[in-house]
Symmetry: C2
Subunit: 767 residues, 2 copies
């Protein structure tokens, strides 16, 4: 009956939403179908860069069943924002709802609402568009040549999205002067897309009072509310955004696309509810990818392995609009100040527009690219210095007190702990001592690699984050938590309910979570940046603590005891010294006895500093030298995430991240034809994601090595971390297996065969 030990936090309780999800009873946005529903569709351009000379919707409007058509002439000409923070540097504000110019192949040029999806599709074909083609710029080289066609013609100059980001610490020249070994290389990465299960979908419905109700699958309901209100000229109390279950988002759903505004406008014009649902193809064409990149990296090391200088130039390809390029560029550049500590750094990051689909936010925001390069080059350094790469990484790993990318000091030795634990648990030295040849199949070579990462459990440093939660206790001691944090499918609401139940001394089942209704939940910044458990969890704990204090105060009164002498467990207030003597919360708090509700409903706000989580991934690969196929056989991810709230959910995050990371490292790349900007594989037939059968044996290790005092009981984030370290770990393991270095992803079978051939030629040439 004491609170010495955790009762709920740290337990893998049955997820609150598990039954409704497995039975199919849980509703997703697409499951809603208000009476009189119309279906909206978007006509998309089939040219990458052009001016619209003429657009004629008359034939579409004449089609029976078509209720409205919108072109650029029919919609407010406002630049909508793609971020909750228009004044912050995380997002640009450069896109119109519909424009008379087209900047990428697939951009929406008109929208239709009709009584069926089929009729809407048919109507799209009847809209006549006459384009005046403009020269298209389809890669970062073409975008950066002097005199390149300008895609926007505003901004800092050329096709730059924002002024270049420059970070400098120490004296890089001096550092390189002290170096015994200097490595230099160029790294590149493709265009992986977050292929969430649930394509983007929304429903707009206006009521008679000119209030818009808007169901949508978003990570940030308040961002959507704000953007819709602004574009539609409504006060915020006239826009209600509702989010129910979500089938993933992975960061991309913290953006605004075109369809939300078009859906709302079509509904307004027709006075009927309108649903817009992306096809899978549209999630590629009109969704958001990770930023393709090119990164030049030069690092200097002393003989003893100490890293003394780092010089980096990074270019992100933003695509036709800026979206999260400012944030990604800032985070991706600043992240190179850290991971492996280095006193002398000079970093330059930029993002450029091209006439290609839009890159945006995606799990591992900015740092997947940067740490892929840095970690591979560390591996090369170990090879050149003749030391074990795990030991070299351990030696240089950031430690307690080092300055993090955010400018805050790192708390604890999380990264060294992960590396050390992995070396032991993976039996790293013994594994690496084995022959690379497969025991039975001569075509197969085995290799072992390590990759490391760190990531902040909160957003871009320029944003003032604010976690909010309202806790409402019922008269029987059961509780409702109201939160704006979206549930992307990761079990975030379960973790929040655990935190509230723990703090209030009630059973997990006694806590219900109300979320995703902007009319009733407190303002929320959005579920991204690995921060829901850290940020909203802390706010939930604080709100619960306020209610707990009320209950204890009231219980103590009723027991004629001092507040310091009573405790609350399982809905019962009792004397700590004599647990038999107590009363239930119901007895203490029933409203018929006059306890004011104002003491049972508490909102708390939390404005955190920044915490960092860490991971080291240990990987075994098997490379088929005949086919070039790389098979990831075994992964041992070691994560420090502070206090673990729900072990199985955390493990699920890690396994999922590894699966996605294997994807972008080996197979996933959304390919754009660089001659004309056309999509070449916008769909899951041609875009190859790893399936469950492609998954390695994963042996997750979660440490509570460096709890952060800012998180609930020291908890930190885990959402993004697992996708970051797996990439360099695989690349390093491939090198370990076949002796070929790859500086790019995805590393395809073709690349492997080419690499083997080149190596053979070099070896032969050397003979």
């Amino acid at each position: 009956m004491t609170r010495q030990d955790f009762r709920i936090v740290g337990q893998s309780v049955k997820r609150a939403d598990v039954l409704e999800k497995v039975t199919g009873e849980g509703l997703y946005t697409g499951d809603y179908a208000p009476a009189g529903l119309l279906h909206g569709k978007i006509k998309r351009s089939e040219i990458a860069h052009a001016r619209i000379v003429r657009i004629d919707a008359s034939k579409a409007l004449a089609l029976p069943g078509v209720k409205a058509v919108l072109t650029h002439a029919d919609v407010p000409r406002v630049l909508h924002y793609g971020s909750p923070h228009p004044r912050s540097a995380s997002c640009t504000r450069d896109q119109y709802i519909l424009d008379d110019k087209v900047r990428f192949w697939g951009e929406g040029v008109a929208a239709v609402a009709a009584i069926s999806e089929e009729i809407a599709d048919e109507a799209l074909d009847l809209i006549e568009v006459e384009y005046e083609p403009l020269p298209a710029v389809c890669d970062i080289d073409a975008a950066q040549v002097p005199g390149a066609p300008l895609i926007h013609g505003v901004g800092p100059g050329g096709n730059l999205v924002i002024p270049p980001v420059h970070v400098e610490r120490g004296n890089v020249e001096k550092g390189f002067a002290e170096a015994d070994l200097i490595l230099e290389g160029t790294f590149e990465g493709g265009r992986p897309v977050p292929t969430y299960m649930e394509p983007n979908v929304c429903i707009a419905d206006w009521d008679g009072s000119n209030k818009l109700t808007f169901w949508t699958s978003t990570q940030s309901s308040f961002m959507v509310r704000g953007a819709l209100a602004e574009v539609l000229g409504l006060p915020l109390n006239k826009v209600r955004v509702l989010v129910d279950h979500m089938g993933g988002g992975f960061g991309a759903k913290q953006d605004l696309f075109q369809h939300e505004f078009l859906c709302a406008l079509l509904a307004k014009q027709t006075r009927r509810p309108v649903k817009m649902e992306f096809t899978r193809r549209e999630t590629f064409v009109a969704g958001r990818s990770r930023h393709p990149f090119r990164l030049w990296l030069r690092q200097g090391f002393r003989k003893d392995g100490t890293l003394v200088a780092r010089d980096m130039k990074l270019v992100f390809e933003s695509g036709a609009y800026g979206s999260h390029s400012p944030g990604v560029t800032n985070v991706g550049t600043a992240s190179a100040t850290s991971l492996y500590a280095c006193e002398n750094v000079r970093l330059n990051g930029r993002a450029v527009y091209t006439n290609t689909p839009i890159a945006g936010a995606y799990r591992g925001y900015g740092v997947v690219q940067t740490y892929f390069a840095i970690d591979i080059q560390m591996d090369e350094a170990a090879e050149r210095l003749g030391v074990d790469p795990a030991e070299l990484k351990l030696k240089n790993a950031v430690r307690d007190g080092d300055i993090a990318p955010s400018g805050h000091p790192i708390i604890g030795d999380g990264l060294p702990a992960c590396i050390r634990e992995g070396i032991t648990r993976f039996d790293w030295a013994a594994k690496r001592a084995q022959p690379r040849e497969h025991p039975t199949n001569p075509a197969i070579r085995r290799g072992w690699g390590i990759g490391c990462e760190m990531h902040g459990s909160s957003a871009y440093p320029g944003i003032k984050e604010q976690g909010n939660a309202t806790v409402k206790m019922n008269e029987d001691g059961s509780v409702t938590l109201l939160t704006g944090a979206a549930g992307l499918g990761t079990g975030a609401h379960t973790a929040l309910a655990q935190i509230v139940a723990e703090e209030l001394g009630v059973a997990f089942e006694s806590v219900s979570v109300v979320h995703g209704d902007t009319d009733v939940v407190p303002w929320d910044i959005g579920a991204f940046a690995s921060h829901t458990t850290y940020l909203v969890g802390s706010a939930a704990k604080m709100a619960a603590a306020k209610v707990r204090a009320s209950v204890l105060r009231r219980g103590a009164e009723r027991l004629q005891a001092r507040v310091e002498d009573v405790d609350l467990v399982d809905g019962r207030v009792f004397l700590t010294a004599n647990p038999e003597q107590g009363i239930t919360v119901h007895e203490a708090m029933g409203p018929s006895r006059g306890i004011p509700a104002e003491h049972l409903i508490e909102t708390a706000s939390y404005m955190p500093t920044k915490s960092y989580s860490f991971a080291a991934h240990f990987v075994e690969v098997a490379v088929d030298t005949e086919t070039g196929l790389v098979e990831v056989k075994h992964v041992l991810p070691v994560h420090d995430i502070g206090k673990v709230i729900h072990p199985i959910a955390a493990q699920g995050q890690i396994e999922g991240g590894i699966q996605q990371g294997i994807g972008h490292t080996l197979t996933e790349d959304y390919v754009i034809d660089r001659t004309n900007g056309r999509s070449l594989n916008a769909g899951l037939v041609d875009y190859k994601m790893p399936l469950s059968m492609d998954m390695p044996h994963i042996e997750t290790v979660i440490l509570e090595a460096a709890p952060d005092p800012g998180g609930p009981w020291g908890a930190k984030g885990v959402g993004e971390d697992p996708i970051i370290a797996i990439g360099p770990a695989i690349a390093n393991a491939i090198h370990d297996a076949i002796g070929v270095r790859f500086h790019h992803y995805p590393i395809t079978p073709e690349d492997v065969l080419k690499g083997l051939r080149a190596k053979e030629e070099t070896t032969n040439a050397g003979l």
Copy 2:
């Protein structure tokens, strides 16, 4: 720009829900139809008192389309309560969900869920029930004779619902000894039913997590939540009650019938949503009526008109179950301590069970009956004393400092003010000086009467009321009010929004109201007892004031001024001395600038004393001496309701109350055959309500004579008052017209003709 004057309070703003109601877009419970919906129906007994010997549902269950049948053997055997306060004295707890005994003709004995209403109805006929008849007790005389059959066999004895209520003040014998005139009479009233537009309806839906979502048309969502949770053995966080628009309730919908539990149980068994909707007939048979009553009253007066003694014995007919009989008996008895001040009172009230449909709460709770009797006898006293009845009532009317029925002192001279204002505005003396004969139609006689009333803007004194409200300001200064107060159709939410807008200095349209969702709104006692504006309005004002204080504090900081020196109007904080210098709430409060949500969301609780509203109704009637028809020609109701929030809504309440009051006074009576308990007119063909064409010219006068410091800006209730005074005013006017006293309602044409005949005989006999 100053706050000297009201901007919104006191204005008849356009009701927030008016557009969705007139366009039909607003949803009522019956409009909801979740996928897979089943329809529930109840089989009702056709005998008033019996034991069920055998009940066989097998044939019903075999009917294709029938999904479940419940009889008393299938449901939890618990006494459910019909009140938010099981331990208070307002309601009994004497009814099972289904019992093996039947206590009135129409009681539910089984329930069916089927895929259509038609199949469910057909199934009802296939359920075989074998009864063992018991002697039925169908009126209060039969119920009170010694040795009467016992309907419940528990309680204080005989067929008493509760121990008799006894109130005594002063010395009644001494009072009568000082009286120059003593009057004695017996008064009776029928069984009017609150024929709300929207019959009782609910939908139950269980999700995979064993959580019940329950849409219902109720005045008290939290009462429904509590009762369902208790009966179903669920914690309160597992029951979500949702109330949308309502088509009236008039008090009756602050009760639980049988169908709510049966609906939830059928849905649980079938794992599908189930809707149960009363037919109009069921709203009579299984709904709630006003209590039929018999009241013996003896009062003594001095020659100068001073009331010196009152002795009263009151019997309410409860019907088969107690429902609100305890509360009605307490309120109805205690109310006789007041209205016309009297130092010496002895009051006895009781309620008795009979085998008839259940009487419950209905607008004017308890006092319609009591004040009907008292006010008519005052009129008789005036006649006997030879004084003007209005002057006699004015002389004896309760005044500031007199003790109210609740035990609190009356605040202000509200009743005298109403009487005085009415005497002037109605031109009372001049009207009464006219001949009673109609100028052109000799069959018609005209008469003028006055009736008075008072009523508390809060519930039964034993209940600790608590008004709660949460106010949530958005970052643009617009606001959401979260309240548990139901919107019966009277515009209560509009009044609450006005109060919040006034207090926060924003436009009325900037305030949205979220209501009727027990998961998100603060606990609410229910919308009854004329207390929503008074009780919840005060809480809303307090919550808004808390948010206002935050905004002013923040605004003052930003303006570098002291909080005392700034004001807030129309969403702008400015220097009181220099209104030009200011900033908008948006500028002061935007969350991206870091204002914590905890300061923008505030809950307030208000626990009031009791306030009283007052009214005097002045009436002109025309009595057709050939047909007995009474036509109410003109009503001038004068009401003191303190500060008026929304004049047109208050006027609407008054006009509606008068219409209902005319109904029960002249035409409405739900008749039960006293030989067998059968309903004789359960439907709107045979139960005659006044239509709009039957309405008199109404000239409403609203005074702000006696504001109550406990209400928002002094506002008091108006919901029940208008139905109370109209009855005695009409009876007194009929007497004024034809010289016949009626001591009962309804006063039918037959009664009038009988009365005229009896008077003629008496007159003739006297000749």
